[in-house]
């Protein structure tokens, strides 16, 4: 059932590539505080039932506010956190039952790029060693000019291989971070806010580089970014998360939102057109996102939602194609019904 919906909402113009990763019913909970009488004081329901798939050559983006669980999903794909429940399948192999050699293949073929390119490297290592490190860790042979080749691939001069991190700007370091992620010839790149720390003029350079690499290498991307405009420009499919759940998913949800949260999120982003000033309908949500240790019953968005009715507190709305427009929506009262 989910399979067919997922296929249906893919943009028909873009042929869907081979499925690489499939996530089903993913839950990641973090117990907090001390365990007493076999129970923890509190549990953070960081990710609470998430499904999606990544395909060759395609970008799926995760958007949502801080703490909604985006990074936790990302980290689970590269083995940095363990799922509490649900399955992650890479090329059909379930991570829970994968053999050692299958796991090694997975660790090579799914790589992550982080937001702060300086935080994830050792400042005393030369760029060459930084880029080659994943090969070393995996015990793989290193071709003589592998670092140079990777540097060229990300638009940097090969001679930079002999320099140190402090000699580079944020944008250049992010290119080096991407080169390093590419060293193991991955099929999937998880990009966790790869441009948020960079200037706009440099962000565009990195985004274009990522798009070029995707076309060239057929990479599948899971992109996490809070800049809705960037996400809209690069994604094949967008997943909107709120408090650990996907509330809306589809190729055009950022242009044509159907869930009240997506609508509010888009409305909150100031338009760069002066002409639109004062004329746009503004939805300003009141209050803060509730704590993920105690999410509201039913629809998690109901405490900030202007459409909320009794049913929203009683019944959890499923993520379904509710309007026949192809997008999946988890709201009892979706727009354009």
């Amino acid at each position: 059932m989910f399979h067919s919906t997922q296929q249906d909402v893919m943009d028909p113009a873009e042929p869907v590539g081979e499925e690489l990763l499939r996530i089903e019913g993913l839950k990641i909970h973090f117990p907090l505080g001390r365990r007493r009488h076999g129970q923890y004081a509190e549990t953070v329901y960081a990710v609470d039932g998430v499904d999606f798939a990544l395909h060759k050559g395609q970008t799926v983006s995760l958007v949502g506010e801080s703490g909604c669980g985006k990074s936790t999903v990302a980290r689970s794909l590269v083995g940095l956190v363990r799922p509490t429940a649900g399955s992650i399948r890479y090329k059909g192999m379930d991570l829970r039952t994968a053999s050692r050699s299958q796991m090694r293949m997975l660790r090579r073929e799914v790589q992550i790029v982080f937001q702060d390119p300086f935080a994830s490297v050792n400042p005393r290592m030369r760029v060459r060693d930084i880029i080659e490190e994943p090969l070393r860790v995996q015990g793989l042979p290193r071709d003589r000019y592998v670092a140079e080749e990777l540097l060229e691939m990300v638009g940097l001069q090969p001679v930079y291989a002999n320099r140190f991190p402090h000699e580079f700007s944020g944008g250049q370091m992010q290119r080096i971070g991407i080169a390093r992620a590419l060293a193991l010839k991955p099929r999937v790149l998880v990009l966790d806010e790869p441009i948020s720390a960079l200037d706009v003029s440099i962000q565009a350079q990195i985004i274009n580089l990522l798009m070029d690499l995707q076309d060239e290498l057929g990479l599948a991307y899971l992109l996490i970014a809070h800049d809705v405009a960037v996400v809209r420009a690069v994604s094949h499919r967008v997943l909107v998360m709120y408090l650990g759940r996907i509330v809306e998913a589809g190729p055009e949800v950022l242009s044509d939102p159907g869930h009240p949260y997506t609508q509010a999120l888009l409305s909150a982003i100031p338009s760069a057109e002066v002409g639109s000033r004062g004329s746009r309908k503004e939805i300003i949500l009141e209050g803060d996102v509730p704590s993920p240790t105690d999410p509201p019953s039913g629809c998690r968005f109901r405490t900030r939602c202007w459409k909320a009715a009794d049913v929203c507190a009683e019944e959890e709305p499923g993520l379904l194609d509710r309007t026949g427009h192809g997008a999946l929506n988890a709201c009892h009262f979706p727009a354009h019904e």
């Binding site: 565009a204 798009m211 809209r232 950022l254 300003i284 803060d288």
Partner: protein, 352 residues
């Protein structure tokens, strides 16, 4: 007003604009570091009028924050130094004041909120007490009654910035509040002394979009109530387009373009502004076709080693191979009115 423009053209302005609640004239601030002297801000002049919002945009390191910190007398000395310039607030040139009077003036006439409220809140003191303390610092020897009044005023201020249950919140510590609530507290503190100027340095950058919208609405309300002049420092063109009256665009420590928000965003006259607007993805049409963005090539210059002539020359698409850009520093000049200025030798050729 006219005489200011004239003196600006002649390069030696003396008097501030009469209607300006903040007038900065020829501000130059440097930092001395191991790697050499950083020209953080060079020859920056602008006016901020009462009730107006002035946006300052530019890349990281372009001098936005140093401009603001100079206006507050908050440049750490050393390594920093305000080499020259005047900062007029309420008839006083802050840079001519001694340290003590500067403190007093900058606390009451100019207030500031930052990206991260935690850096200016004391983690071990209750919110209400911190606001009250801010109110009391401007009184010599506060009596018991003064203290009680300050406490009540703190609760009122919290209510005025939309903090729910202000009595209870006043008793809480900063870490018990969300990022958005903390920024509200900062605004309450900043407004507690009825400042003429509020400098907001990336006030919403650390906040989520829906909370950013709340804070920007609050700043608009506060401005309507108090007629405070707001200097909004941001890298978000959308925030500028929706919230400011006039804009300064900074590049490598200098103002390269200034004018009304309509003029600068719809009819930019400096190649850097044009590049900045082109690479802003939210200016793309909002259909869902995947497309490449339009970056500005190259990197911002090293501030310890600025190129001669125009700092933007190495990245500029308009220059071609014209020598003038490498030889001569372009000055801000009318583009073509006094209200819209650009520092490009070839501003007449700039097209959006």
């Amino acid at each position: 007003m006219t005489d200011v423009t004239e003196t600006e053209i002649h390069g030696r302005p003396q008097t501030p604009a009469s209607d300006g609640c903040l007038s900065v004239r020829n501000l130059t601030t440097v930092f001395t570091t191991r790697r050499g002297t950083v020209a953080a801000v060079t020859d920056v002049s602008f006016d901020l009028r009462a009730g107006e919002t002035l946006g300052i945009v530019g890349e990281s390191g372009s001098g936005k924050s140093v401009t603001a910190m100079s206006a507050l007398g908050l440049i750490p000395q050393p390594p920093g130094k305000v080499v020259s310039g005047e900062i007029w607030v309420d008839g006083k040139n802050l840079l001519a004041l001694d340290r003590r009077s500067l403190r007093a003036a900058s606390g009451s006439d100019v207030a500031m909120i930052f990206q991260d409220p935690m850096t200016s809140l004391n983690p071990v003191h209750r919110i209400g007490a911190q606001i009250a303390e801010g109110i009391l610092t401007h009184q010599r020897r506060p009596s018991k009654a003064d203290r009680e009044a300050a406490r009540r005023r703190a609760v009122e201020l919290l209510a005025a910035v939309g903090v729910p249950a202000p009595e209870r919140r006043a008793q809480q510590y900063p870490h018990e509040l969300s990022g958005g609530m903390r920024q509200r507290v900062m605004i309450a503190m900043a407004m507690s002394c009825d400042p003429k100027v509020l400098i907001a340095d990336e006030p919403t950058t650390a906040l989520d979009a829906t909370i950013q919208a709340q804070i920007m609405r609050l700043l608009r309300e506060v401005q309507q109530r108090t007629n405070v002049g707001i200097m909004l420092i941001t890298h978000d063109i959308g925030l500028v387009a929706q919230n400011v009256d006039r804009v300064l665009v900074m590049y490598a420590g200098r103002v390269v373009e200034m004018g009304t928000v309509e003029e600068v965003l719809e009819n930019p006259k400096h190649p850097y502004t044009v590049g900045l607007l082109r690479c802003t993805p939210s200016r793309l049409p909002s259909d869902s076709v995947r497309r490449r963005l339009t970056p500005i090539p190259g990197l911002p210059p090293n501030p310890t080693d600025l190129p001669p002539g125009c700092s933007f020359a190495p990245r500029c698409g308009l220059r071609g191979d014209r020598e003038l850009c490498l030889l001569e520093q372009p000055e801000l000049r009318p583009a073509p009115t006094d209200d819209h200025r650009s520092a490009c030798h070839f501003l007449e050729e700039v097209t959006p």
